[in-house]
């Protein structure tokens, strides 16, 4: 079967759409996996953009939380071996801690 010729305008439009799609994917929300193990958030510093998703997995035998210092986001209780997901907002980029064990702290930094 012989391929049908593609009009240059259609080809240009397809290329533009493909580029826009790539650009959109790069700029979209990103998932960040943060492990809680031995009463430590890993990584302890994570660069994020507003709108990114944080996925916390608790590997400890006791419940924890991840709670923004400014109160804008909170996983609530993450049970032992449990997972909780939050979306971070503009103001939530900064320090966070475990509400149950305040000595557990970590930081979200602004991604470049």
């Amino acid at each position: 079967m012989t391929p049908r010729p593609v009009h240059p305008a259609v080809r240009a439009a397809a290329l533009a759409a493909a580029l826009a799609g790539c650009a959109g994917a790069a700029a979209g929300p990103v998932r960040h996996d943060i492990a809680i193990q031995a009463f430590v958030y890993q990584p302890a510093r994570e660069p994020v953009h507003a709108g990114d998703t944080l996925v916390f997995v608790n590997h400890d035998a006791v419940p924890h939380t991840a709670t923004a210092a400014d109160g804008t986001w909170d996983t609530g209780e993450i049970p032992a071996n449990g997972t909780r997901t939050v979306v971070v907002g503009e103001t939530g980029i900064g320090a966070y801690k475990c509400a149950f064990h305040p000595t557990m702290t970590a930081t979200l930094t602004p991604a470049e």
Partner: protein, 210 residues
Amino acid sequence: MHHSTLRLALTLSAPALLALAAGCAKDDAGQAGAADTTAVAAAPAPPPPGTPAGVQPSTVTDPQIAAIVVAANATDSAGGALALQKGSNAKVKEFAQRMVTDHSGVNQQAVALVTRLGVTPEENNTSRQLAQGGEQTQQRLSGLSGASFDRGYIDSEVEYHETVLQAIDSTLIPSAQNAELKALLQQVRPAIQAHLDMAKGIQTELQGAR
């Protein structure tokens, strides 16, 4: 490690963990012989070349460690339950609830592990002392109320977690033979450290409120 190997692994009597952690020389020497007294005082070390397999100085066995872990968690959970009833300060009660929750979780993890490994917790002087010490503390605290109870409970929690932390570092982790049991103890350590830091913080606040 097979259960029978665990039982044969270490030959010394169980050191009195609390006494050991406190730097006291009193131990089980009366039951196990004078030779043990010297060994208990020394930090656990790898056996010298030529030591018969399964014989190491200055240690507790894995079954004994299991019993100590269970007793330690049960003791602090019971203390937390009492503080939930008698505590008056909100932070003290919040801390007490955390002790009940966390030590119950750690105990479940420990019991699941030793069950899977086929290790039967073996009562020993240390586990008995932990249980008895917990009961004595409970009795003493039961006679207190209000701010006196809050201070007494938090003071005992600071002392308890300091003692357990030192015991984990000086005796339990170095003595554990099974890799998974050793890993469990290493995972528990940060919890004890966090609890100690939390208790000290509340202790400072209560002292400032006097």
